[in-house]
Amino acid sequence: MTQPRKGSAGAHPRPKSASPWRLAAQRLSRHKLAWVSLLILVLFAVASLCAPVVAHFLGTDAQAVDLFSRYGPPGPGHPLGTDELGRDVLLRLLYGGQVSLMVGVSSALCAAVIGTIIGVIAGFRGGWIDSFLMRFTDGVISLPLLPLLIVLAAIDPGKLGIPRDIINGESFSLYRIILIIALFGWTTVARLVRAATLALREREFVMAARALGGGPVRIVMRHILPNVITPIIIATTLAVGNVILMESVLSFLGLGIQPPVPSWGNMLTHAQEFIWDAPLLALWPGLLIFITVIAVNFLGDGLQDALDPRADTDTMPETGQNDTQAAQWNDPRETTS
């Protein structure tokens, strides 16, 4: 008996025969969503990079306070109105987009690098190094994420001996949040890479490379890494959405990106106070977070389908302790409620 085809044919007892057209349409419709998502993300990225141009045309900048026109309605000078300090909402949304997208991508990339290094070392070296690193990973996974992130975000870097003038710099809170989120985000990639490395290590082409005298660094760089890149790409894409959510949560709580630098999260910090005066102000940033995150998730899902068609059903863990995290791609921990 052949493998059941993915789709209605295998999973239903009396399948309607799936015509090639229907299959193609289904696949297209799936990937169309991913394409639309990519388009939206590119659009957001371009728009937020154009923020200085928009500022030039509006003749104001994102941090110009005008207390005489607080909660201004949308109008020619301010296409989306003004906020509680009379700043232009559209500009702040655009600059906030720069911050959110940058934090999302860089933090996910940092996490991917950390996770890849740990995963490759664990899978390639094996032995006690492997069990130590994996126990450590399990430990990190089992920690309550949000409370710890909040403590980390609240510590005073001055007490770590970092000079004050660096801390008070505008971009310090940006780097800090990228680092903090990456510090906890590497576990998924580490486990994926370790599992893949373990399997690859015993393959003939790796043994051949070893027999030809290839050192461990060369084998990892030339033979292992190119073959584990697919799961890394998928996991990292999906991580970008989570990071953006987490950044917005921390900034919302006043622990992430510090004003006056706008981010979609910190634009909502005081939303509860002005919700009576200007409800629309509370709407825009959240809507943009929502659209961005859902687009990233659709893109990740589409990539998963396209690059690794087998993987989207790999939700069954094997056994025991290592697999308390059952879903392979999506971290099921409730991180942001």
């Binding site: 920690l143 403590v151 005073d156 917005s248 919700i275 409800p279 059903t313 308390t324 942001t336």
Partner: protein, 317 residues
């Protein structure tokens, strides 16, 4: 089994000790330690006074020693005094736990009541229209920022429609019965929407995986109705990862929902931890963090045990 549990309890204790050290160091790095605050509050304080106060509070001792002291006291049930609430930490945690539990249990039950049927329903016909629709809704649920969802809920139901209170528990105006329940509706709804998406995707994924197994084909081949196949063969196997998920989330029942509770002024554990961190209340923050870690670790352990109970093939090593 007994040996496994014993080993895991031992490991859990070890992780707790390590985390408590990490948390102790981190919390000590938060701004505004007690002496700092006294210096700010009283400009006339001299450096001799500072040294004396540090000696009085034991802050002149090395970090390691202070942590061991904290640990010993904590093991004996003494978590110190909360500076923010001027009460012993242990008396603050009890009511907060109860409040969180109320909120989380309600949203947990609601979320599962939606996710189980929806996920299974979608999984029985993958790639169909209903699967896409359910999946789309699940993606939306996963991607929505929970604090914004809460804000919009307040905006619509409290500010505009005046149907429901915007926050609190109603204890102040002695609301009971329906009056008290009204205060729970918005936070519970927010939490449910925030978690139902990942639950649906989880249930769906594991059911699809099970429906592809050979024993499902066998069950069909022997002439079982589709209903029988699903109920007798697929569900039991498909629910195992869900048990894992429940175990992983068990901790959140007690550690609460930091954002939702803060947003709706719900006096639970999450809000307590947040206030402690923001207000530099070291003792309270320590106790809250440790409790959150402990319940999360216990949840992981329960997940593994539940797994074993459902599937005798699983070897617990």
């Amino acid at each position: 089994m007994r040996r496994f549990i014993f080993n895991r309890l031992w490991q859990t204790a070890l992780v707790m000790v390590l985390v408590s050290f990490g948390a102790y160091v981190l919390i000590g790095l938060m701004p505004g330690d007690p002496i700092d605050l006294m210096i700010t509050a009283n400009p006339a304080i001299t450096s001799a006074d500072v040294a004396r106060l540090k000696g009085l509070y034991g802050l002149d001792q090395p970090l390691m020693l202070r942590w061991l002291h904290w640990l010993w006291a904590a093991i004996n049930g003494d978590f110190g005094y909360s500076r923010l609430f001027t009460q012993p930490v242990t008396t603050l945690i009890g009511p907060a736990l109860v409040n969180s539990l109320k909120l989380m249990l309600a949203s947990w039950a609601l979320s599962l009541a939606i996710a189980l049927p929806a996920g299974i329903y979608a999984a029985l016909k993958p790639q169909s229209f209903r699967d896409y629709a359910i999946n789309l809704a699940a993606f939306a649920g996963v991607s929505i920022p929970p604090f914004w969802l809460g804000l919009v809920a307040i905006l619509v139901f409290a500010v505009t429609l005046h149907w429901l209170p915007a926050g609190g528990t109603g204890q102040l105006d002695n609301a009971s019965g329906w009056g008290g329940l009204r205060y729970m509706i918005l936070p519970v709804a927010t939490l449910t929407i925030a978690s139902v998406g990942s639950h649906i995707r989880f249930v769906r994924g594991s059911m699809i995986e099970v429906m592809r197994q050979d024993f499902i084909r066998t069950a069909r081949a022997k002439g079982l109705s589709e209903r029988g196949v699903v109920i007798r063969h697929a569900l039991r196997n498909g629910m195992m990862p869900v048990v894992t998920l429940l175990g992983l989330e068990f901790g959140s029942l007690f550690s609460g929902a930091l954002i939702t509770e803060t947003l709706f002024s719900w006096p639970g554990m999450g809000r307590l931890i947040y206030n402690a961190v923001i207000g530099s209340d070291y003792n309270l923050a320590m106790a809250g963090l440790m409790l959150a870690t402990l319940v999360t670790l216990i949840g992981n352990l329960l997940a593994d045990i539940g797994y074993k109970l459902l599937d005798p093939r699983v070897k617990l090593s």
